[in-house]
């Protein structure tokens, strides 16, 4: 940015114009993200309408506990980042730093738990392109999942389609979250260096809009994927 007058960039006439542009820009960007996810949500919905029984069967095998804890993490992080905006606006740098760090850490906790979840998915034979797909015996059953599905009339092929959606949707979401964590950490560094001053709160506001969107997308992904089938007490254990 050139020719700074406080937070004002040189090509803008006044600060109001700049803030208006930044906010509108972020909302437009969110529109693109919504359309991006809409494509895969639509595809998922089509297949879920075609293969409800198979999707319900494999959805019941997903770890709804981890998903629940992760949802709490993200919702809380949305709260902390909102409070961070206020802290920035009022010049409370100590609170700003803590809240930004908390947001980033909650996001990181989500990713850590997700990584753990992916690892257990692999060990449970729920990775459709791996060689041990369906060969594990999971909680609540007495034979490998492929046999259970055979018995229940669930098609392993359609299970693979569900899992493809599971990994691609949570994977894309995870990538978006990692980018968000990166931006929040960058803002944290600026807060530490005291260059995130009250007149530059709009940067934080636009970041929080992005963060809320990532959270909102998770709130759609979670029920679609994890709650498509019945869950029993058996899946509460890790």
């Amino acid at each position: 940015m050139s020719a700074r007058v406080g937070a004002l960039c040189g090509h803008f006439e006044d600060i109001e114009q700049q803030r208006g542009a930044e906010r509108l820009g972020m909302w437009m960007f969110l529109a693109t993200e919504i359309l991006f996810f809409a494509g895969v949500f639509l595809a998922y919905t089509v297949y879920r309408l075609w293969y409800p029984k198979d999707f319900a069967a494999v959805s019941s095998l997903l770890n709804v506990t981890i998903a629940g804890i992760n949802s709490v993490f993200l919702l809380t992080s949305s709260m902390t980042i909102t409070f961070a905006i206020r802290a920035c606006q009022t010049g409370n740098n100590a609170a700003l730093r803590k809240l930004l760090l908390a947001t980033a850490l909650l996001g990181a906790a989500f990713m850590a738990l997700k990584a753990y979840e992916y690892a257990t998915d692999y060990h449970e034979g729920l990775v459709p392109w791996s060689n041990n797909f369906g060969h594990e015996t999971l909680h609540g059953h007495d034979k490998p999942m492929l046999d259970v599905w055979e018995h229940d009339g669930v098609s392993p092929d359609r299970v693979k389609i569900f899992l493809f959606f599971y990994y691609s949707m949570t994977g894309i979401h995870g990538i978006h979250l990692i980018i968000g964590i990166g931006v929040v950490l960058y803002l944290y560094v600026r807060a530490v260096r005291k260059t995130l001053t009250p007149d530059k709160y709009v940067a934080l506001e636009t970041t929080s809009l992005y963060w809320h969107l990532v959270d909102a997308i998770w709130l759609f992904i979670m029920p679609l994927l994890y709650l498509a089938g019945p869950h029993t007490v058996h899946q509460l254990g890790f």
């Binding site: 437009m28 693109t32 359609r158």
Partner: protein, 566 residues
């Protein structure tokens, strides 16, 4: 006809406090810093526009060479140059390069970036750094595409349909698709920038109703870029994952019929973007035509509201017609009915524009410099392209014409006869403003006519071929189609001559061209009220707009000065 390019005339150049000789005044954007760093790290929208221009021309050259190889191979029914596999890779590369690396970024990336801020009276785009980033992202995308080509090519066609692309092709589908994916982000960034700029950075007095039609067109284009491109991104992303799982030995994919997936779903997701994409390609060109026809007939545009709203109408309705690419793909009869009907609706705004442009010429005072020749060529060729679209939107005839050379001819008419000609028109119109020099009037008009004639010779025979059933993407064909294929290839050489001519005189002008003043064409837009080339911040003082665009009949520029009417 007067060829004084307004160097001495001062009327209409009220904001021209600096001429292009920097004697202690602010330097032009070309001279504001030298060296590769000042270009590669610039945030000046004009320099970024020039960087886009250089790369667009480079990619156009690559795409044109690929086209030549395709056409020359088709001279013989058994393939004159290359084997089938190589041919398939050539036409795929031609499509990918021309669509994603030339047509889509062309006018928005070059003239959009350069002129949108100036035409609305702003100092730069809303997000200059995002603008620079969009260029780099585009380059990154092209890096992937080049990698795919150098690694042996990709042979799926630019449409990437599974299951062929994911399970059967075994060519460089992932890097090729990655190139498209990444380039898409550049398109989104440019579109977003333009939308915010037009919304928030208009100069005082520049109301929506006074915006030049080029801005309306580019704005509508940007809406499509922002909303449609993400859907291509997800389609291509899912395809890439599906293809990659094939490498593990346990292929999984949602488009793979072997496990209950549906390849038609990919087609829906793909065309949901790719149909609006063709409107991304043509709308900016239509905006340019409005600018040029008014200037070179010295008349108001006929039906400003109609043309402005039709741009928005094309953008909106363009989103709901995608399945007209799939009438024989296995969609239901009722879906086909719906999409055919909607496709008829989207044809109406384009027709409205053509009628309005024609009426603009009525009782004008018309001159025929190169921009006008290109614009008139656009009128002829785009009309043919547009009406041949009707054959394809009509269900009965589409059965016969789908996937034949009729389709190839149709889309080349709108994309080359339409968009490329519009790009050339824009380039020739704004060249003096961007570079500060003027090119040869004689050679530019000759080149324009050559290109138009070459174009007609290349693509008219293809309508015949398509109606007779010659399928597209065929390196081998029955011998009775040979004559028309040879004619078509002959046309290519004529076009090639025309484009080389253009490249030559434009290049020569950079070294030897007459210096151009601020308003060589005597046009009314804000961009003609500043020096040629402009200073970095475009305007010394924020301009105040008092008039609608195109008030040639009143001899009035948008800032209230006399238009330089010669």
């Amino acid at each position: 006809m007067s060829t004084d390019y307004g160097h001495t005339a001062k009327s209409g150049a009220s904001l021209d406090h600096h001429d292009s000789h920097p004697h202690g005044h602010a330097p032009s954007y070309l001279h504001d810093g030298y060296g590769w760093r000042s270009w590669l790290f610039t945030v000046d929208h004009k320099r970024i526009g020039i960087m886009y221009l250089v790369m667009i021309l480079a990619f156009f050259l690559v795409g044109g060479v690929l086209a030549g190889l395709v056409r020359f191979n088709l001279v013989s029914p058994t393939g004159a140059l290359v084997d089938n596999d190589t041919y398939n890779k050539l036409f795929t590369a031609h499509g990918v390069v021309m669509l994603f690396f030339v047509l889509i970024p062309s006018i928005p990336g070059v003239m959009g970036n350069f002129f949108v801020p100036i035409m609305i009276g702003a100092k730069d785009m809303a997000f200059p750094k995002l603008n620079l980033a969009s260029w780099y992202v585009w380059m990154a995308g092209s890096g992937f595409a080049v990698w795919a080509i150098l690694a042996g090519g990709i042979d799926t066609g630019w449409t990437l349909y599974p299951p062929y692309s994911s399970r059967s092709s075994h060519s460089n589908v992932v890097p090729g698709a990655m190139g498209v994916f990444v380039a898409g982000f550049s398109s989104i960034m440019t579109g977003l920038n333009i939308i915010i700029t037009v919304h928030r950075m208009r100069a005082p007095g520049m109301t929506w109703g006074r915006l030049p039609l080029f801005i309306w067109a580019t704005y509508a284009t940007s809406l499509i870029q922002v909303l449609a491109t993400p859907v291509l991104a997800i389609a291509v992303f899912l395809l890439m994952i599906e293809t990659a799982t094939g490498w593990t030995g346990n292929p999984v994919g949602i488009f793979d019929p072997a496990i209950g997936g549906d390849p038609i779903l990919f087609q829906h997701l793909f065309w949901f973007y790719s149909h609006p994409a063709v409107y991304i390609m043509i709308l900016p060109g239509m905006g340019v035509i409005s600018e040029i026809l008014t200037c070179f007939s010295r008349k108001n545009i006929f039906g400003y509201q109609a043309i402005a709203w039709s741009s928005v109408g094309i953008a909106v309705v363009g989103f709901i017609v995608w399945a007209h690419h799939m009438f024989v793909a296995g969609i239901s009869y009722y879906a086909a009915l719906l999409f055919s009907l909607l496709s008829m609706l989207v044809a109406v705004p384009s027709a409205i524009k053509v009628f309005n442009w024609t009426s603009t010429l009525y009782r004008g005072s018309i001159t025929f410099q190169a921009p006008m020749v290109f614009a008139l060529g656009f009128m002829v060729l785009f009309t043919i392209g547009g009406v041949t679209g009707l054959f394809l939107a009509t269900l009965g005839t589409d059965i016969h014409l789908h996937d034949t050379y009729f389709v190839v001819a149709h889309f080349h008419f709108v994309m080359v006869g339409g968009m490329v000609l519009a790009f050339m028109a824009a380039l020739h119109f704004w060249w003096p403003k961007m570079t500060g020099v003027m090119y040869s009037d004689f050679w530019s008009r000759t080149a324009a006519i050559t290109i138009i004639i070459g174009y007609i010779l290349t693509f008219m025979p293809q309508f015949y071929l398509g109606y007779h059933g010659m399928p597209r993407r065929y390196p081998n064909y029955p011998p009775e189609f040979r004559v028309f294929n040879v004619l078509s290839t002959a046309g290519y050489t004529v076009q090639l001559a025309g484009f080389l001519m253009s490249a030559s005189y434009l290049l020569v002008s950079l070294f030897n061209g007459k210096k151009a003043g601020p308003n060589p064409w005597g046009a009314t837009g804000l961009e003609w009220a500043i020096p040629s080339p402009p200073i970095t911040h475009n305007f010394d003082k924020t301009p105040v707009v008092v008039a609608a665009p195109y008030e040639y009949s009143l001899n009035l520029t948008q800032t209230g000065e006399k238009a330089d009417v010669r």
